[in-house]
C-alpha cells in the first residue's frame, strides 16, 4: 500500500545553515512515527515542511488524498492546501497559544473547523463540541470558558479535540507534552495513544523525550544536524541502537 504521506530527500537551509538535509520518511494510517533528536536537529523545520507551512528547498512530499490519488504537496494550490490542513490534517503545537484561539471559548475553538466546513447549525456544533470535550476528558461545564482559564494539560487536550473534530487522517504533533508535569503528561499520552488507535490516525510526533517516543510510537526516526541518522521500529532502535549518536542519546536518559 502506498503510504499516506511520504517525503523524499527534503532539504531546507536557512541562509548557510542546514536545517534538514535529504530527509526521507513515510507514514501510513494507524501508524505513529516519532521523530527524536536534540534541540536544533531540524525536527520542527521538518514538521513545518510536512504540514505544508514551509516550502522545502528541494525534495518532495506526497500525500494520498481521500479519493486515493497521490499528489505532491507543491502541486496543490494554496486554497486546497488550506482546506486540507483544516480537514484532513491536524497540528498540535507545543505552545497551546499558537494552536488555539485564546480569546474564544473552548466550544468555539472546537467548533471553528466545523464552521469553516460550512456547518451553520448552532445546536449541532454545540453537540459535537461537547462530545469531543468529553472524549478529551474536559468537563462539559467548561465549554464556555476560554482556554486562558485552562491548565497547561487541559489546553493541550483542547488542542487535540479542536484538531480531531473533523476526523483528520494525519495529525502532526510538535512536542505536545513538554512543559507538563509527569502525571499530566501520562494522561495526555494515554489519551493520544487511545484516540490514534480508535480513529486509525497517522501521527507524526516530534519529541526530544525518548520515553514519550517509546510509549506512543511504532516507528522512530532519530535526527541529528538535519539528517536522519537511524530509523526503525521503536523498540528495536531504542533497545539496540546501531548508530553512535543514537547510542549516546539512549544512554543519556536518566533513569528515574
Amino acid at each position: 500500500m502506498t503510504p499516506l504521506l511520504s517525503a523524499q530527500s527534503l532539504t531546507k537551509t536557512y541562509g548557510g545553515r542546514t536545517a534538514c538535509a535529504g530527509v526521507d520518511l513515510d507514514v501510513t494510517e494507524g501508524e505513529v512515527l516519532a521523530i527524536v533528536g536534540e534541540s536544533g536537529s531540524g525536527k520542527s523545520t521538518l514538521l513545518s515542511m510536512l504540514a505544508g507551512e514551509l516550502a522545502p528547498d528541494s525534495g518532495e512530499i506526497r500525500y494520498r488524498d481521500r479519493e486515493g490519488r497521490v499528489r505532491a504537496l507543491h502541486e496543490i494550490g494554496p486554497a486546497e492546501l488550506r482546506a486540507l490542513s483544516r480537514t484532513d490534517w491536524g497540528f498540535v503545537r507545543q505552545d497551546a497559544a499558537q494552536g488555539l484561539r485564546m480569546g474564544v471559548s473552548a466550544g468555539g475553538n472546537v467548533g471553528e473547523r466545523l464552521m469553516g466546513l460550512g456547518e451553520r447549525h448552532y445546536g449541532h456544533i454545540r453537540t459535537r463540541a461537547l462530545n469531543w470535550l468529553d472524549r478529551v476528558e474536559i468537563a462539559a461545564d467548561r465549554i464556555d470558558d476560554p482556554p486562558t482559564r485552562f491548565s497547561g494539560g487541559m489546553r493541550q487536550r483542547l488542542q487535540i479535540a479542536r484538531n480531531l473534530v473533523t476526523a483528520p487522517r494525519l495529525v502532526l504533533m510538535d512536542e505536545p507534552t513538554s512543559g507538563l508535569d509527569v502525571s499530566v503528561q501520562a494522561r495526555l499520552l494515554d489519551l493520544i495513544r487511545r484516540l490514534s488507535g480508535e480513529l486509525g490516525l497517522a501521527v507524526i510526533i516530534v519529541t526530544h523525550d525518548l520515553a514519550v517516543a517509546r510509549l506512543l510510537s511504532h516507528r522512530i526516526a532519530v535526527m541529528r544536524a538535519g539528517r536522519v541518522v537511524e530509523t526503525g521500529l521503536t523498540d528495536q532502535v531504542l533497545d539496540d541502537p546501531a548508530d553512535a549518536y543514537t547510542q549516546l542519546l539512549v544512554s543519556s536518559v536518566l533513569a528515574a
Binding site: 494554496p78 486554497a79 488550506r82 484561539r101 474564544v104 471559548s105 466550544g107 468555539g108 467548533g111 471553528e112 473547523r113 466545523l114 464552521m115 469553516g116 466546513l117 460550512g118 451553520r120 447549525h121 448552532y122 445546536g123 456544533i125 454545540r126 465549554i143 464556555d144
Partner: protein, 344 residues
Amino acid sequence: MSDTHDSPSPLCGGGYPAQQGERGEPGLRIGRRAADGDELRPAPSLPSPDPLRGPPSPVEGGGKSSAPATYNFAYLDEGTKRMIRRALLKAVAVPGYQVPFASREMPMPYGWGTGGVQVTAAILGRSDVLKVIDQGADDTTNAVSIRRFFARTAGVATTTRTAEATVIQTRHRIPEAPLTEGQTLVYQVPIPEPLRFLEPRETETRQMHALAEYGLMHVKLYEDISRHGHIATTYAYPVEVAGRYVMDPSPTPKFDNPKMDDCPALQLFGAGRERRIYAVPPYTTVRSLDFEDHPFRVQTFSEPCALCGAKGHYLDEVVTDDAGGRMFVCSDTDACETRREDAR
C-alpha cells in the same frame, strides 16, 4: 459617453492646474446606461435623478461658485479625486472587496469621518444636494460640521430631507425614507475589516478573503450565542455581499442591515485611517450571517417614539435631566419631523 471632453487630460501628465474645479465636475459615473447619453443635462430645478450626478454645469465657474478661491471644488485636488474614483470603480466592480486607496489628511481627526468625507468629495458634483447624518440625526456636531464643510468648499446645496438628497453621507444609520436609484449613500467606516478582532494579522485576513474562508466569522456569532443565548452583536453585524465577500457594514446598527439588501441606491464605504474603500452597487444581495437555529433578527423597540409617537422605528435614548429622566426618540430626525408635520 459624451463626457470624455471634460475629464481633464492634463491630470494624467502630472501637475494639478490650480483652478481645476472651474472646469466642471464630471462626478463619478456608475450605473449609467449608455442609451441615455442625450439626457446628460439635469433638470435645473430638481436634483439629478441619476446616480451620475453632475454633468458639467452649463454655466462654468465664473465667480458664481460660493467656494473660496483658495480651495479646489470640494476641497480635494483633482488628482486625489481621480485616485479615489479609481478605487471606487474597482470597489463597485467587486462588491464588498476592500480596495486600498491613498487616504489623505483631512482637516478633521480620524474617527470623525475622514474616509466618508474623501469619498463624498470625490463623487460630489455641482448639482448635487448633500445630506449628512450622524446617528440618524442631521443636527449633531459631526453632521453639521461636515455639511458646512461641503457647503463652503463645494458650494453645493444641502438638505436634511432624505428624499431631496442625491448624496447622503452617514455615520451609522440608513435613512428611514426608502432610497431611490438616483441616490448615493456614503458611509464613514472606522474599521473596514470584519475579521479584525478575530484574526489580527492583515496578511492572514487578506488570504481568508481571497479564499472565502469565512468560518471564523461564525465563531464570533457562536461566541455570542454561547455567552448571551442569542446573537448579541447589534452593530457592525457582518454581511455577505453578492454571495462572495464578507463585509463589515461599519458601525451601522443591525436594524439597518436589511435595508442594504437589494437597495436601489449606490452604497459606498470609506475608511480614512485604514485606507480602504468598498462598495455595494445598486440591487445587490446583502445577507446578514446567522445560524440555521439562530436566524438573523433586528432589534425591536417596545415603546413608541416620545416625539412622533410612531412605533417600529429605531430609537435613541436621550437623557433629559440629571434626575434619571430619559426619553426614547426616533434616531432618524428627518423621518421623525416628517411624521410630526404630517400629523399636524
